[in-house]
């Protein structure tokens, strides 16, 4: 089986978890990857500042879609402060596949959207490395 497109990724891509919309979401944010135009929108429903439900929508490659799908699973039950701590390495570990720098941007798009929605952080999650 192909390294990058190993079962798990393809499975999440073809059968994404938490795909859809939350009509009465507390937080909604959409952003795109300027390199390829892929878009992701994420809706979050909170209860006592804890993520009760989360859904994503949008089009993208297997990497960004699987990353979104897997990230959705992780978010449920987390506090907004927990979410702020999620970083690039968390995503890479979650996906568990080797990625070049361009594909890393795909992988990070969902996290970027979440952080922008939750904290108004408009930059890539790896910006801290460089600033």
């Amino acid at each position: 089986m192909d390294d990058l497109y190993r079962e798990l990724i393809l499975d999440h891509y073809q059968h994404p978890h938490h795909h859809g919309e939350i009509p009465d979401a507390d937080i909604s944010y959409e952003d795109s990857n300027p390199l390829c135009g892929d878009k992701i929108r994420i809706d979050i429903k909170l209860k006592n500042n804890i993520v009760e439900d989360v859904k994503f929508n949008g089009k993208g490659c297997a990497v960004s879609q699987a990353s979104a799908s897997m990230l959705m699973d992780e978010l449920i039950g987390k506090s907004l402060d927990d979410i702020k701590k999620l970083d690039k390495q968390f995503i890479l570990d979650m996906l568990g596949i080797p990625l070049g720098p361009t594909r890393i941007k795909c992988a990070l798009l969902p996290l970027k959207v979440i952080k922008a929605g939750v904290y108004g952080i408009q930059t890539w999650p790896d910006e801290e490395d460089d600033a």
Binding site: D2, L4, C36, G37, C61, V63
Partner: protein, 417 residues
């Protein structure tokens, strides 16, 4: 395509050409490198790399204003390259050849220095749906600044420009028409002569995006009667430098674009006067090495013959279109007739994102491009967010297309699980 000597198209001896491109001898991920992204940027023959090397080893110096031997040599070669470019596109005078950074800057130069002076509120600018963003965004910015309207000539079901719209959209209100000669997505060759004629008939000027034509086929600015024509050295075996051709009378009448050294005649505290053409539009120290190395790139293309380059790419495109149509489900955008397109083929694979397609190609050593290829309005028209694109040049062989098609089948298989 002869079966006995499959590495030959009608146009070129690819095996011999490949020897001149050191980068193509490489393997990537253990596979021989197959470079199919020449519409983005081309590889360079050793002669061009040597020209760069020689410049820095022997006569790197400022042009125009140096009296010493190194500077004289650099100047002679830099201006000599300009004259070679002039002849390559058959311009009347070297004064009509302006070095820029790239096609994009060439077009912006026209938008700023011609457009801001000549486009007024209520005027219309006409472009086409086939354009690269560099031939759209500068006109959007200009139209917005001036209160002008921007209109698009549409694309028909075969990926060709709608000929009748050339007549209906380009009207007395039109002051400028900006059109490509060849699309970097669909490969479509446009009826550029007809477009230019129509522009002139209504008194408009025509800016031709030749980024995908000058490298790939004979282009003659005088027979086209183009007003402005833009292209990039890096897409024609050369370095990172751009060219703007402009008719002398138009360039003379324009105000300068960037201000600074070299483009002036005299600077006083309260005003300045401008240098002669083409230097009026070349502010600051130019990319001297890059200008000079254009000479070697053009020598190489001239030795091949631009007619042969075109024939070769036409044959490759025909071969690829034929083979790719056999892969189930693959959708090719743009004309299916190789005579109507350049050696650029963008396609969509159902259910598979182009990024994933390109990544799987990469692991086979094949470089293709995934994305909107700087043509979002065109992708929007096709209802696609992105496509995968393979583009060919003088060093590509039919065998590489076989490998492309094989890998396409593999992509489908992986995603079927």
């Amino acid at each position: 395509m002869s079966a006995t000597n499959p590495i030959k198209t009608k146009g070129l001896n690819v095996a011999a050409i490949r020897e001149d491109f050191p980068i193509l001898q490489q393997t990537v991920n253990g596979k021989p490198l197959i470079y199919l992204d020449s519409a983005a940027t081309t590889q360079k023959p050793e002669a061009v790399i040597q020209a760069m090397d020689e410049y820095y080893h022997k006569y790197n110096a400022i042009v125009h204003r140096g009296v010493y031997a190194l500077a004289e040599e650099a100047t002679a070669r830099y201006e000599g390259a300009r004259k070679k470019i002039q002849k390559f596109i058959n311009a009347k005078s070297y004064r009509e050849i302006v070095y820029t950074r790239n096609t994009t800057e060439s077009i912006n130069l026209v938008a700023y220095a011609w457009g801001r002076k000549n486009i007024h509120a209520g005027d219309e600018i006409v472009t086409t749906l086939l354009e690269h963003h560099s031939n759209i965004v500068p006109w959007q910015l200009l139209a917005k600044e001036k209160g002008a309207a921007l209109k698009f000539i549409d694309v028909d079901e075969n990926g060709l420009l709608r000929g009748e719209q050339i007549e209906t959209l380009v009207t007395e209100k039109t002051k400028l028409v900006a059109a490509t000669m060849a699309s970097n997505v669909t490969g479509t060759l446009t009826p550029i002569k007809q477009i230019i004629e129509r522009a002139h008939a209504v008194g408009a000027v025509c800016v031709v995006d030749a980024a995908q034509s000058v490298p790939h086929m004979p282009v003659d600015v005088q027979s086209l009667d183009a007003d402005f024509l833009a292209f990039s050295g890096h897409k024609m075996l050369g370095p990172f430098v751009g060219i703007l051709y402009g008719k002398r009378a138009l360039l003379e009448a324009m105000d300068p674009f960037l201000g600074g050294g070299d483009m002036i005649r005299e600077v006083f505290m309260d005003h300045s006067t401008w240098n002669e053409l083409p230097w009026k539009f070349e502010a600051g120290t130019p990319a001297i090495m890059e200008g000079i190395a254009m000479s070697a790139a053009i020598d190489y293309l001239n030795a091949l013959g631009m007619d042969h380059v075109r024939a070769h790419e036409r044959d490759l495109a025909a071969y690829a279109l034929d083979k790719m149509r056999d892969v189930e489900g693959v959708r090719i955008v743009g004309p299916l007739d190789a005579d109507q397109r350049g050696g650029v083929i963008a396609f969509a694979v159902p259910e598979v994102h182009p990024h994933d397609v390109a990544q799987i190609f990469d692991r086979e050593g094949i470089c293709v491009r995934a994305g909107h290829h700087c043509a979002m309005p065109l992708h929007e028209h096709y209802g696609l967010a992105a496509t995968t694109r393979a583009s060919f040049y003088v060093y590509n062989a039919p065998e590489e297309i076989d490998k492309l098609v094989e890998t396409l089948a593999k992509v489908r298989q992986i995603f079927r699980g």
